[in-house]
């Protein structure tokens, strides 16, 4: 059964591997996936450890429902202290790796220490082997995976790997599996690289007993109908995540030229329809790929049609590639987007982070803070695809002063560059914002300011806020599984009601991350999609574990607090611009210049923002400094952390 999947603590320094069961009381407290990883991170790292040193601990996990009949249970969670901001590092990716890991007997892998030379770890039917990686070190993301299959003589092996960027400890390097699936954010690939861990390979044929197979099948069918009947998923399943590009851009929510504009001109050039028209179509009318057991299938398959990369196959480009690789550097070129999307996939680097940091450098060049001396002769001009690709390469391979500096991530780079370069860096907790511009959407701004892994939408974004749903519909969503009778507003430019929505989504997204389900299968982009009520059932049918919707909510709240405890230990203070729940001054001082009537001329009101954070803290049980009150820790059963139970 899913509950008997084990945890392995692998010490790469000594080669010692400790395999143990996950006690049921720990399961009930943290369920699995990201929640349990947060517990492990807090318990297995010491305050102030070097993120790229042997004392950092790296967690790789599936959710409790991984590989069971819960649909879209492919999510892989990777956690460690982040080398970007020294705060919580946490990334989540899809694909086929974690089901294979679960069939091989494991849900959680914990990596400690540092291997003497490059290694990869092979997990196979209950056994774990540390193997020499000399034949795969230096290879690209996909070549690494195919080489491992070749070496192990098994085409069904699924691997989670780093590319050249991770090997070189580029701080925004990601962890990948397949062609496109990435645990992208917070530089987890650099942590793997720092441990000399090139890959984790899994292959398993062990049964996962389903507690109530008939009910699980029937419920899953209902679940799928609910998911495929949502218009948002039907559109996404045809066009991929770029389906929201046009609407968001025309309305004015797309960061352009770093943070100078909130709308990209000539954005039609990179619309999914343009991708369809221009790419070499070798896949027929159906061109989408899905992760394990998923009916949303949001990854588009494409072959580049023109230029030096003509004929190259890749997947995406997803919405965040459009932003980080097109709008932020203001390059409305389809070929550039497709090529850069391919390069980040091959070299293993987070598209959001690298696009954002390079665009920041472009702005610094425009301002004269960076000159040709620092850029090693490059002219960093908006819209120049050739230069952008060259900088991308230099960062991924740490070439020259500019490449090496930007490879340190925005915050460290700003300390190296000096002057007032930091003022222009759009980040929270050391992590760059995705390409969305939140100046007209206070709820979304609160989300990125308070998100545990830094400026990111997948922690607590009330994305459905943009749909202007009637208040009674919002009330229905947001007053379950815990009651809420405070104010709610259908207006996305409003401040009222947003703190509760952000708090609710924070718990909702933690819920899916513990279960191992994709966010496209919950209340993220679609208001009618499953959440707590359905999870309670799906958890019971598949694992036999009886947890009420409120129980799952409590686990989510507890796990979020665990992440907060980690961040507090690493120095989180409320208004700190590098480590706090605070936005760059530009959100408050520079009005938006483009977009729809309700998006133009907007800034975030500092006073109202402060009030939102206050209210959000109240819901979380934090004092005005963002520190949990003793009664909150007691209520969540965290007063004795670190408790070292696992």
């Amino acid at each position: 059964m899913a509950l008997n999947r084990k945890i392995a603590i692998i010490d790469l320094t000594t080669g010692k591997i400790d395999i143990k069961p996950i006690p049921l009381d720990i399961r009930k407290k943290f369920i699995g996936g990201r929640g349990l990883d947060a517990y492990l991170l807090y318990n297995h790292t010491k305050k102030g450890c070097d993120p790229l040193g042997p004392d950092n601990t790296l967690m790789v996990s599936g959710g409790i429902l991984t590989a069971t009949l819960a649909s879209a249970t492919s999510r892989c969670h990777v956690m460690a202290k982040s080398p970007l901001g020294g705060m919580l590092g946490s990334a989540n990716g899809g694909g086929f790796f974690t089901p294979e890991l679960a069939w091989a007997g494991f849900h959680h892998l914990v990596f400690k220490g540092k291997a003497e030379k490059p290694v990869y770890v092979y997990v196979h039917n209950g056994k774990i082997e540390i193997r020499d990686a000399k034949n795969i070190w230096g290879k690209s993301v996909t070549d690494t995976q195919w080489a491992i299959r070749e070496e192990l003589q098994d085409e069904d092996v699924k691997s989670l790997v780093i590319g050249p960027a991770g090997e070189k400890m580029v701080r925004m390097a990601n962890v990948m599996t397949g062609i496109k699936n990435s645990a992208g954010r917070t530089g987890m690939g650099a942590v793997m690289g720092s441990k000399n861990l090139k890959a984790i390979a899994a292959r398993g044929t062990m049964d996962i007993k389903i507690a109530h197979p008939k009910e699980a099948l029937e419920f899953n069918k209902r679940f799928i109908d609910q998911i495929t009947s949502a218009k948002v998923n039907q559109t996404q399943g045809t066009l991929g995540t770029p389906f929201i590009w046009g609407a968001t851009n025309s309305w004015g929510g797309i960061r352009t030229r770093n943070f100078q504009y909130n709308q990209m001109l000539y954005a039609d050039e990179i619309e999914p329809e343009a991708i369809d028209e221009n790419c070499l179509e070798t896949m027929g009318p159906y061109h989408m790929a899905g992760c394990f057991g998923c009916q949303v299938h949001c990854r588009a398959k494409y072959k580049i049609a023109t230029g030096p990369y003509a004929g190259t196959y890749d997947e995406g480009p997803e919405y965040t590639s459009q932003g980080g690789l097109s709008s932020e550097p203001d390059i409305p070129s389809l070929e550039n987007l497709l090529v850069c999307n391919h390069l980040v996939d091959q070299w293993g680097v987070d598209n959001l982070e690298i696009g954002s940091v390079i665009s920041w450098a472009f702005e610094l060049y425009e301002l004269g803070i960076l000159t040709k001396k620092e850029t090693d002769g490059l002219e960093l001009k908006w819209g120049d695809a050739e230069v952008f690709q060259e900088v991308l390469r230099r960062v991924c391979f740490r070439e020259g002063w500019l490449g090496n500096t930007l490879a340190e991530g925005g915050v460290i780079a700003s300390e190296i560059i000096g002057k007032n370069s930091f003022d222009y860096l759009i980040q929270v907790k050391g992590v760059s914002n995705l390409h969305s511009d939140e100046r007209a959407t206070p709820g979304l701004a609160l989300n990125i300011a308070t998100a545990s892994r830094g400026s990111d939408h997948l922690r607590s974004r009330p994305a459905i806020d943009l749909y202007h749903l009637p208040v009674d519909v919002l009330r229905k969503i947001y007053s379950s599984p815990v009651p809420y009778d405070g104010p709610l507003s259908s207006e996305h430019t409003e401040y009222i009601g947003k703190p509760w929505q952000v708090f609710w989504h924070e718990n909702c997204y933690m819920g899916v991350d513990c279960l191992g389900i994709c966010k496209y299968h919950t209340t993220f982009l679609g208001a009618t999609l499953p959440n707590f009520e359905d999870w309670s059932k799906v958890l019971y049918y598949n694992t036999g574990l009886e947890m009420s919707p409120k129980d799952i909510w409590d686990v989510a709240e507890r796990s979020n607090m665990m992440e907060r405890l980690f961040n507090l230990r690493e120095g989180l203070t409320r208004n700190d611009l590098k480590k706090g729940d605070m936005l760059n001054h530009r959100y408050f001082d520079e009005p938006t210049r483009r977009g729809a009537v309700d998006a133009v001329g907007k800034v975030i009101d500092r006073e109202k923002f402060t009030k939102m954070v206050d209210e959000f803290y109240q819901y979380k049980g934090l004092d005005e400094n963002g520190v949990p009150k003793p009664e909150t820790l007691k209520r969540l059963g965290l007063e004795k952390e670190p408790s070292h139970l696992l």
């Binding site: 996909t142 062609i179 062990m206 049964d207 996962i208 099948l217 799928i224 159906y286 790929a289 196959y313």
Partner: protein
């Protein structure tokens, strides 16, 4: 003779490679999640984005049936399928070796062969595939989509020819 039953019609073009069919197959038949137990398997060329569902073709002259030394394999004409009688099966795996489609599996946990039984007429892979990359259709209708696609090409050519004719006049 009664008309032949329905067959699995696989349309690889539609497959997104999600492998939900593998999951539901193993849960339905064995009550467990284990792709290694699935009767259907998606063969992939990941670096080209090509995914091909493969399963038993329920052959008329089934090589597995012919090769079986103890006559454990027979055809069930009612559901148009090839079945294994595990009371007779001696586990020699001759059927596994001879199947031209690799559709006969052998399970190392139970030490038994296994193959698609069309879920007694309600194939779960079809039921759960939202793209209908795997469909369940009457055998004589299986080629209809291809006929239509071919006909469409011809009509397109005809229309083009007609347009050219009218232009030249």
């Amino acid at each position: 003779m009664e008309p032949m039953g329905k067959v699995l019609a696989i349309n690889p073009e539609k497959c997104t490679g999600c492998r939900l069919c593998e999951l539901v197959c193993s849960v339905y038949h064995d009550g467990v999640s284990n792709a290694a137990r699935s009767r259907i398997k998606i063969i992939k060329w990941e670096s080209e984005g090509r995914y091909i569902p493969t399963s038993c073709q329920q052959c008329q002259d089934a090589p597995c049936k012919i090769v079986c030394p103890v006559k454990a394999i027979s055809r069930d004409e009612k559901l148009s399928r090839v079945m294994v009688d595990h009371n007779k099966c001696i586990g020699c795996r001759s059927c596994v070796a001879v199947c031209p489609f690799g559709a006969m599996g052998f399970n190392v946990i139970d030490h038994k062969n296994f193959k698609c039984d069309l879920c007694d007429g309600d194939p779960q892979c079809v039921r759960f595939c939202d793209m209908k990359a795997v469909d369940y259709v009457d055998a004589d209708r299986m080629n209809l989509p291809k006929k239509r696609a071919a006909a469409e090409r011809i009509t397109a050519a005809q229309r083009e020819a007609a347009a050219l004719m009218s232009e030249s006049h």
